[in-house]
Symmetry: C3
Subunit: 346 residues, 3 copies
């Protein structure tokens, strides 16, 4: 069994990925087929027909469920075989394992418990900014040939911007290195807050919002086990408090679902939302495109880092002050993975 | 040693595959070079020069045999080195292992015994339909990244036609699922017969033969260890008996040589022959093309099935009534592999 | 630890390979980054940042050294970290291993000792023909998916010319097989000399040099552990002695650095120099191009040989008289690898 903190909701993808064909995806070491029936129900089954073991993801969707592409066995969303072409009765053992899959605010959440009987007692988290009329958003996903926690390291340490993203959002490395920084947290969260009061607004900001001069900028990274919320933005200096959750100005809301595929590979599901100003051109698509380009740069670095860690196995890393956030996130995951598995947790 | 029933003739390919260059092919775990000398003799040698181990398949063909492409050692069809450039004498140890290879009715048959000394006592089987003036034929071969017996399962169970071959020969799944079926056999054969009396002839049949109305159709699958003969066809209802081997009508004769390459890969050598009617356009090439397209579909499914079996190791399959034929073939192979190896068998 | 004779200078590449970007190269099992700083100093470091393990070869070159492409740590040519962006002090452990790298006559030589403390006491060998005004040269490199000693076997046995290089320099196999041959040597050298007095000059020779008739040809292969010097040429018969090192005529000087990458892969760094005649068109580039084409042919054969040796593990080879040179080179390497590692050797 892989060593992930199970017994919680993980991001399995986005609603718009479920189309007229089934979707094969491996999550937490489980090879799954995700699909939506013609009646609109979503489901996640083990991606293996119980008869001759063809991937069910090679099958076809019907109103009642998913039909295997080899001998035509039909499975419902609970994994029960409900038809065997060529014989009257369906054998009692004709079933495949089903996993709880929920669709909430266009995010697909899956529960893959430590045991076959572990079931969720609560619902997966809401994500308001996918449904908030003040916001527009876009997103995508990346497959990583690298362990999931290397993506955390990257997200929790924004000091790499000046080197990895030199060509896109990097700007002056010194600015990113010298911002104020606070790291706080508990057993289920790590929060990193960087404040840059009275800064010059970057070009995307001035295009999006009618700032009058210098702005107070913020970056709040709210790390949870299965996903990371990144809230960045700026408001006219003096127009409000950086402690006020309802503060005005231009906001960018990032959702980053990082789900292990295997011990050594991961899925990265992301969206970014902005609040268009009525008097300005909507920059959401521009921000989405820039974000995708930036994440491509991260992927190149992180996958190269992982390949190199495999070329130099068992070697110690040195610790720098910029590692405070990533290190805290790792300690939190480590404690959750080691502890007796809780019945329920989010 | 791989666990195949050795000590028998296996299909190594077709006569037309031996051209002016040697052919590298792995059969039953043996890496071989197959070739025909300028004098017309066919041979199978271990694909390794006994000097510096270059594959002999990289060499060149001469009248006397095959010359290695590194230092020019010349080997005859028995694997004896008969010339070493640059020195007078040929060392006694300069030889490579040779395997009996026969050419009969355009099929190449090879004998790879359990031991180096095991030799065939009989000749490989004839295949009349490659030489019968009433028939025309064509064929080809496929390489499978899947174990050979998964191909048997597919051939011995025609119920998959309606799902795998939906776009080609599939037609209505219910027709294939509900035909009459008999399964018989002994220690060296399994025979599956499906009869469909008084059926409407499919389009290829009506193009090939002047049927007057409904036809009696048959499918006879004659499974042997190394190959499968599939005889299908139809005749005007009432014009003869489905038990008469000399019955009239339109006939398709399929030859399917399935030879293990390794434990986990296989070669599939096939031909299909039809009996053109003097008053109709010959449909042989059409049938050959359709067969090739159909086998491509099988290959996609079977290789995906095998990859999935590796992703889910050690998992049990459920048994359905359509598995009667495939299961009987597997039991026969299993008995032959387990039993004390016979001196001779076909 | 890999079983190469360490504690000696090995060829790491050529001067012209170090440009404005760092060069990743694995030599003797060590993953290295090779680079030249803006100030002109060359260096070889372990290709792994000591912080988060990104390959340093993904970084950027500055006057002071090499800056990592993830968090911007800056390393000098000795592997010392001299700057950590975002913090004042550089941790004492922030360093990476450096290897002695020398540049001499446009060849890069590296020392990778058996131990971390093993250091060279002498300088790497000179190679006069890269600096000799009588000569012009060109060259290149090949990566081999084959163990380094298979390249030695090929270089030390020129009898393969007639078969492997049939289409390029081969000519009549019998000529190459029947030349006079002497093999001599000591613990650090093997020398193979082949003399072909009173031969017809080949086309390249007559284009390069105003020969008047038959020529005395020589091939001298001087095998050392890390590189092989191949001196071939011809002079008018009767115009001098084949024992005179200062003899006249047309000369080709080959440098062949063969450096293990891993146990099963290698780098082949080569140049060839000729002495243009004032009255003739310079054929150096033609000879370089022919050499590159010839080495491509060797690579195809040697990599196929290695793949085949892996398909037939543990099988004995037969010994032929043409194997005298290669066998002697292998015995020399074997003795050096087995013996207690010397402090210094070239």
């Amino acid at each position: 069994m892989t060593s992930f903190p199970r017994n919680r909701w993980w991001v399995a993808g986005f609603s718009w990925e479920l189309s007229s064909t089934p979707l094969a995806r491996c999550l937490l070491g489980q090879h799954l087929v995700l699909f939506r029936t013609a009646s609109g129900e979503v489901a996640a089954l083990e991606d293996r027909c119980c008869h001759k073991e063809l991937p069910l993801s090679m099958g076809t969707l019907e109103a009642a469920g998913l039909r295997c592409g080899y001998h035509g066995l039909l499975f419902d969303t609970q994994g029960r075989c409900i038809e065997v072409p060529g014989q009257q009765d369906v054998p009692a053992r004709a079933k495949v394992r089903a996993f709880p899959l929920r669709e909430r605010d266009q995010i697909l959440w899956i529960w893959i418990g430590d045991t076959r009987d572990a079931q969720p007692e609560d619902e997966p988290p809401a994500y308001a900014f996918h449904a908030d009329p003040r916001y527009r958003f876009g997103g995508g996903s990346f497959h990583y040939d690298a362990p999931w926690q290397l993506i955390h390291d990257n997200l929790m340490d924004l000091s790499h911007l000046g080197y990895v993203h030199l060509k896109t959002i990097g700007g002056n490395p010194a600015v990113h290195m010298n911002a104020s920084l606070s790291v706080t947290g508990d057993t289920q969260h790590v929060k990193v807050v960087r404040l840059m009061p009275a800064s010059a607004p970057p070009p995307t900001y001035t295009a999006a919002w009618p700032f009058t001069g210098l702005i107070d900028r913020w970056q709040e990274v709210d790390f949870r086990v299965s996903h990371v919320l990144v809230w960045t933005g700026g408001m006219d200096t003096g127009s409000g408090s950086l402690d006020d959750p309802a503060r005005g100005g231009f906001h960018m809301r990032g959702f980053h679902g990082v789900t292990p595929e295997t011990e050594h590979s991961a899925h990265y599901f992301w969206t970014v939302a902005t609040n268009p100003h009525p008097d300005r051109k909507d920059v959401t698509q521009l921000v989405v495109d820039q974000t995708a380009a930036t994440f491509e740069e991260d992927k190149v670095v992180i996958e190269a880092q992982w390949r190199n860690q495999q070329r130099f196995p068992g070697r110690a890393q040195i610790y720098l002050s910029i590692d405070a956030g990533p290190a805290r996130a790792r300690r939190m995951i480590s404690a959750l993975t080691a502890e007796p598995t809780p019945t329920v947790a989010v």
